[in-house]
């Protein structure tokens, strides 16, 4: 059984038989897809609430308008760079997976490391952005000064921090998982036949990236 590729279709059951063909993917991968479906619903709840609240509120702090004139307090340029970095980290993740699919241990380690760095940088920059925003008075509940300038500031703060905060938490947990996988990669615990951990963490990572692209568009750009 050790030589059999563990990433093939039907699950092996005690007694040397195979289970009924399910979705033709191994358990961990199926489990991750199923889990991600629930994550989609979670972010749908948060983003849906934001959309309803924003379009029910009327006036909103739009991008492209200076803060003093009631425009967005968010730093779109910095976040655009951050977004690009996250997208790059998905690319490096794909390359890491492709590497181990070919048995390339060095490539796996290199690209996993890059992914961790890019991911951690994303979190770091976001924390920096939060600090700048708080300094300006933009918080889950805005300062009185900012609330006087920015329309529906409290609503914006409430929704902004909840959505990006939970996303950031998901990214952070993803970075932790990536570090764990990277350590295992450096210990040579993945092979061409057996690298489910890389694939499964990769799936999670791509999901987190996709959610961010949606958030960046809906919250920052529109």
């Amino acid at each position: 059984m050790a030589n059999e590729s563990v990433m093939n279709e039907a699950i092996a059951m005690p007694g040397g038989v195979h289970a009924e063909p399910g979705m033709q993917v191994y358990n961990q991968k199926l489990g991750m897809w199923v889990f991600l479906a629930s994550e989609v619903m979670f972010f749908t709840g948060l983003i849906g609430a934001y959309i309803i609240l924003r379009f029910g509120a009327g006036d909103w702090a739009l991008p492209g308008i200076p803060l003093e004139e009631g425009g967005t307090p968010l730093n779109i340029n910095l976040t655009a760079i951050n977004t690009f970095m996250l997208i790059c980290s998905s690319v490096t993740m794909v390359k890491a997976f492709a590497a181990i699919e070919h048995g390339d241990q060095k490539g796996l380690r290199r690209f996993l490391l890059l992914t961790v760095l890019l991911g951690a940088s994303f979190v770091g920059i976001q924390i920096y952005e939060y600090m700048e925003l708080v300094h300006e008075g933009f918080m889950p509940r805005c300062s009185d000064e900012l609330a006087a300038i920015v329309p529906n500031c409290h609503l914006f703060g409430s929704t902004f921090y909840t959505m990006t905060g939970f996303h950031g938490t998901h990214v952070s947990l993803g970075v932790v998982a990536l570090i764990w996988v990277t350590v295992k990669a450096f210990r040579g615990q993945y092979s061409k036949e057996n690298h489910g951990g890389v694939e499964v963490v990769g799936l999670y990572w791509h999901f987190v990236d996709l959610v961010w692209i949606m958030l960046f568009t809906i919250v920052y750009l529109i």
């Binding site: 059984m1 050790a2 059999e4 563990v6 990433m7 699950i11 092996a12 059951m13 005690p14 007694g15 038989v17 195979h18 289970a19 009924e20 399910g22 979705m23 993917v25 191994y26 358990n27 961990q28 199926l30 489990g31 199923v34 889990f35 479906a37 629930s38 994550e39 619903m41 979670f42 972010f43 749908t44 709840g45 948060l46 849906g48 609430a49 309803i52 609240l53 029910g56 509120a57 889950p140 509940r141 529906n152 409290h154 609503l155 703060g157 409430s158 929704t159 921090y161 909840t162 939970f166 615990q189 057996n194 489910g196």
Partner: protein, 581 residues
């Protein structure tokens, strides 16, 4: 090592070492032990919720009078009681009963699998549930008292302590809900993966018993619905604690947003509660009738249809909420529609019993009771589906009657059926049939005496969640009915004593259970009672569907799923474990 773990989903294989008591029974990863852990937990919370019900009925029947050996119930306490009774019964008694006990216990066994796909995740799910229950119980004792905004927690009442007088209690309520959600999620991931990927050879989807179909579909519902309430609960918690304004109108928040989010989860939630009950009842009715379930495919499609339609009816909880009346029309249509697959199921159950050879063992009595009472609960739902009639009966005892007919008459009775049915397999001992029948008849009769009159209260306009009906002139003539209901509820509570005695004495002194005491076809009855770790020595092979009762092909009136029919095979009953060679 990573190899074997990936192929067998990370479970220990046949030659695992002796585990310590703590690893085996406390931090157990065996789905059967976890199922039993959930059973004890659910029954405990059923007791807590039941005691709260007694206090509620005391106040309603005898407003302002001191509870025996205690004080009168204050209005604030009354609000906390109705809130926590609902919360505990829904989230800590019934949800874990169907999704913790039966999903865990039955799925691997009935599919021929050694355990769940992710046993350690399963353990995590149970202990997260324990933590959520602990937080909920703790909320009863904090300063300011427990949450008192109803199990539905509508803001602004629930969103700001200035309105309810409750601060920490409501926050803990929310936290316990979020923890519960996480536990539920882990369970769902496990159940879905296991059902899809770990069915024994020959166990095609359309050979799965209806209990498994319903648990599978329910797990999908839970997977997708629970995150919505988690998101909503987080937003409510933030409103309560860090000054956000999601649901508080002063700064642009929308109270109705909570209702939409809550019920978008809440309606699938009630189908999560009833579908597994229906599945269990199907299995037991077929067994008790010694007859195939009538319309197996229709039953599967009905489950799927109910699950699907359940997503688009949520607005019927909001007909009178101030939501656009046009939406009321669309939700009325979808809600009326969902009556159809439910009706189909009731007729198929009747069809199963028709021309059967009915064996009235205790589980069968409960299953029949389910059909009887769920019918009433379902029919009362039609009144509410009519948006216009709902104008009058919304937030009255008509709704309370409906809820309890489907949850007690439905889910709880099916749960009792399941407990009596699978107790022998779980514990290796038989329960007393005599005590079981006493439990059933007393419960069935007293339940109806207690809850049927609530329809009449509702027709009279009796509102929900009011601590003292005698404040209203138009309700005073109904007070004798309130008292009658209260006394019936007290007796109904006492009627559970035979069950408690039966359960605990049978655990230790019950007769040894044979392999297959109910002569059932499920794979779980082909392994010892209780089954060993890993369930099947060798994975069985499945040859036919789960309801081959009274088949003309064999002499016995049942045919286990793993019994091959090799021309003239007559001793189907003696098939043991590992017959799939």
């Amino acid at each position: 090592m990573a190899t074997a773990e990936a192929t067998m989903g990370g479970m220990a294989h046949a030659h695992h070492e002796e585990q310590s008591f703590i690893r085996s029974y406390i931090f157990a990863t065996d789905h059967k032990i976890i199922g039993i852990q959930f059973l004890f937990a659910s029954l405990f919370f059923l007791l807590v919720g039941g005691i709260m019900a007694l206090l509620i009925r005391w106040q309603l029947g005898f407003p302002g009078q001191a509870v025996p050996f205690g004080d009168p119930i204050s209005p604030k306490s009354y609000n906390a009681l109705v809130t926590m009774h609902g919360t505990i019964m829904v989230f800590f008694a019934l949800m874990p009963m169907v999704m913790g006990v039966f999903a865990n216990y039955l799925i691997p066994l009935k599919l021929g699998a050694p355990d769940m796909a992710f046993p350690r995740l399963n353990m995590l799910s149970f202990w997260m549930f324990v933590s959520s229950g602990t937080v909920a119980m703790a909320s009863l004792y904090v300063e300011g008292g427990a949450a008192g905004a109803g199990w539905t927690a509508y803001p602004p009442l629930s969103g700001a302590a200035q309105y309810s007088g409750v601060s920490l209690g409501q926050q803990l309520w929310i936290v316990s809900l979020i923890l519960f959600g996480a536990s539920s999620l882990l369970g769902s991931v496990n159940y879905i993966t296991t059902v899809i990927n770990m069915r024994a050879p020959g166990m095609t989807l359309f050979r799965m018993p209806l209990s498994i179909w319903s648990l599978f579909i329910t797990a999908i519902l839970a997977l997708l619905a629970v995150p919505i309430i988690a998101a909503a609960a987080i937003m409510l918690l933030f409103d309560q604690t860090i000054g956000t304004t999601f649901f508080l109108p002063a700064d642009g928040g929308q109270p109705l947003l909570w209702q939409h989010l809550f019920w978008f989860f809440g309606h699938p939630e009630v189908y999560i509660l009833i579908l597994p009950a229906m599945g269990i009842v199907s299995d037991i009715l077929a067994n008790g009738s010694r007859k195939p379930i009538f319309g197996y495919h229709s039953m599967v499609y009905a489950i799927i249809t109910i699950a699907f339609l359940g997503w688009i009816v949520w607005g019927h909880h909001m007909f009178q909420s101030g939501m656009n009346p046009l939406l009321g029309t669309t939700f009325m249509i979808s809600t009326m529609a969902i009556a159809i697959p439910s009706a189909i199921k009731v007729f198929n159950w009747l069809g199963t019993m028709w021309r059967g050879n009915l064996q009235f063992h205790t589980p069968m009595l409960w299953a029949i009771g389910f059909v009887s009472l769920f019918t009433i609960g379902g029919l009362s739902g039609i009144f509410m589906a009519s948006a216009s009639v709902d104008i009058f009966i919304h937030d009255t005892y008509f709704i309370v009657a409906h809820i309890h007919y489907v949850l007690f008459g439905g889910t709880l009775m099916a749960s009792f059926a399941g407990i009596y049915f699978w107790f022998p397999k779980m514990f290796g001992r038989m329960m007393s049939e005599r005590l079981g029948k006493i439990h059933f008849f007393l419960t069935f009769i007293l339940y109806n005496l207690a809850f049927f009159p609530m329809h009449l209260l509702g027709m009279g306009g009796h509102m929900r969640r009011i601590a003292d009906p005698t404040q209203y002139e138009f309700l005073r003539p109904l007070q004798p009915l309130n008292q009658f209901i209260s006394v019936s509820v007290f007796l109904l509570f006492l009627a559970q004593i035979p069950f408690v005695i039966n359960f605990f004495t049978s655990l230790f002194k019950g007769e040894q259970a044979p392999l297959n005491p109910w002569k059932d076809n499920g794979l779980e009855w082909t392994v010892p009672s209780p089954p060993p770790h890993g369930n099947f020595e060798t994975t069985p092979t499945v040859y036919h569907g789960p309801y081959e009762f009274s088949s003309p092909l064999v002499e016995e009136d049942f045919l286990p799923q793993n019994a091959p029919l090799n021309g003239g095979e007559r001793k189907a009953a003696t098939v043991g474990a590992g017959a799939g060679e």
